[in-house]
């Protein structure tokens, strides 16, 4: 099992530089299907699934390694080295924004540019810091995943197995999209929502662009602004899109902001 198979890597486009797109908690690389094609003309584009998500090799899932975001960041570094990246662009959605930051700190030669879409270095409020959630709320989320995973998966299965009403989506896509092993989902949720990577932000050396949505309950504006303050020289762009997934709900806005940056 190679790294490329482990992370279900797809490579497209052509160009001197490479853009790596990373999906967040929930779903898989198809999160980027409305954005990534626009960059194929000028860039080599790389999509991948985190281990445990999408069509990655689930047998490679190691609960200890992936108990923290560091395990996912180590995979990103491995992917970057495998592909011989140098001064590439890393685009991370949601928790992958921080995973990308950790990977960039570990191997600065791989990524010169970082695009963080809806980043949060810590989801739980702390003293002077507003993450958006209380510890009790995050515990409730983790408990609901633990207690009710059958409810989730029972609810998920018919949706992703349902008849195609959107012909441009291939069957394999609808079958895998958003499907997560409940056990892995639970642990990924724990790794994500209990993380605290605030101290790492100062060590990011890449040119950094933060894309901030309106009305994002998962990564609110003040969280994005915190990241903006902590990452030296970073830019922040407020999207008109609302919710947590502008790459799906407002792909053109994301494309425009990224275009202007890279």
């Amino acid at each position: 099992m190679t790294i490329l198979q482990r992370n279900n890597i797809s490579i497209d486009g052509s160009g001197e530089r490479t853009i790596v797109f990373a999906h967040g908690f929930g779903c898989d690389q198809n999160m980027w299907r409305f954005v990534e094609p626009s960059f194929r003309g000028q860039f080599r584009t790389v999509l991948f699934d985190h281990v445990g998500a999408g069509r990655s090799d689930h047998s490679a899932y190691n609960p200890r390694k992936y108990a923290t975001l560091g395990g996912y960041a180590a995979d990103v570094v491995e992917i970057g080295r495998e592909l011989g990246l140098k001064d590439a662009v890393f685009v991370g959605h949601s928790v992958s924004a921080m995973i990308g930051a950790l990977a960039q700190i570990e191997a600065p030669e791989l990524f010169s540019d970082l695009v963080m879409v809806g980043p949060s270095p810590r989801y739980i409020d702390d003293a002077d810091y507003t993450g958006g959630f209380s510890e009790a709320q995050i515990e409730e989320l983790l408990a609901s995943l633990a207690d009710n995973h059958m409810g989730w998966s029972a609810a998920m299965a018919p949706a992703i197995m349902g008849n195609l009403e959107k012909p441009e989506l291939s069957e394999e896509l609808t079958n895998s999209f958003c499907r997560t092993d409940p056990e892995i989902a639970k642990q990924f949720a724990r790794a994500t929502f209990t993380s605290d990577n605030r101290a790492d932000l100062r060590n990011v050396t890449a040119r950094t662009l933060i894309l901030q949505c309106r009305d994002d309950i998962i990564a609110a504006e003040e969280v994005g602004e915190y990241v903006h303050r902590e990452v030296a020289g970073s830019q922040i762009v407020y999207l008109d899109a609302s919710g947590h997934c502008p790459n799906l709900s407002a792909p053109q806005e994301v494309i425009n902001a990224m275009d202007a940056f890279v």
């Binding site: 779903c27 059958m150 989730w152 959107k166 799906l248």
Partner: protein, 387 residues
Amino acid sequence: MSDQLVPEDLEDLYENAPCGYLSLSPKGRIVKFNGTFCRWTGLRPEDLLEKRLRDLLNVSGAIFYETHFAPLLRMQGFFDEVALDIIKADGELLPVLANAAEKRTEAGDVLFTRVTVFRAHERRRYERELVNAQETERAARLQLEKANAALQADAELREQFIAVLGHDLRNPLAAVDAGLGQLLKRGFSERTPTILQLMQRSVSRMSGLIENILDLARTQHGDGMVLHIEHGRPLEPTLTQVIDEQQAAWPEREFSVDIRIDHNPPVDHVRLAQLVSNLLGNAVTHGAQDLPIRIQAAGNQEILEVSVSNGGKPIPAEMIGELFKPFRRGSVKSNAKGLGLGLYIANQIAEAHCGRIDVMSDATETRFTFSMSTIDRSSNNTRDYDD
């Protein structure tokens, strides 16, 4: 009665359908809803208009919705049978199953999203029961496995125990038998006192073994060790008696005794005698034959210390931690040296007195020291009885 067809009232069908309806704007705001939804949730039109679907969910539901179902909806244009918990006006949760479908223009732009919700109390309860049953079953299985392993370990221990016990009782019994044989054959002679002494030694060894076995049975059955604490009874005679017994049993061994007890703590005298006896037995068995066994006892208002030391080979460092486990001897050896219970019982007695036994072993000597606090917390009228 004839089956007369009355035209269906579509407006009423929407408003009072046996399911809840919500319509969302392209930006995901609630723009229309039916009466059934309001009745089920107790939410008023002003609670719903311009809200997002996720605003009606609890935090964990909202996170899951945003990270899983909202993307699914955008990607597929629909989702079916998604389990959600809607917060009702009274704060209670309404478990529902929701279907959603986007209505798009020919160009693919979303016009609105239609959401249909069905109450799912029973189904959710059933699912929870299934999950609970699964968890209960798993917990029960784990417990069973654990109990099984414990039983197996117990059975092995017992088997080993019986083998060792048989072995250890056979030697002194053989000695008694031989002694009786001689006495019967020769009648009274000048050797008789020596033979009787040897027989007594064997008998006392056997009775010590039986004593320890009974204690083991008690402590292993979780009853713990019951103490009969006596306040103010002088400790020195108790210690002297134990030492004299051992000296009588092993006349060729040298016992050097140093007892300085200024204060008599509340202890169980029978148990303490057993503790010291076990330590002495251990020293006799494992110590060098030609070196003295030293007993030191010191007691004051704060602490009582009784140590037993012997010369000879030091105890290997890796064995020290194993000393107080029952049956540490591991397997039946030809040179029986006891069940390996003596130190275990001694330690149990020490712990029952809130005390401890420390071990020090080097080339010069091996010393076991029993220590306990003598500050009497249980009584206030007996501490100075001995003065």
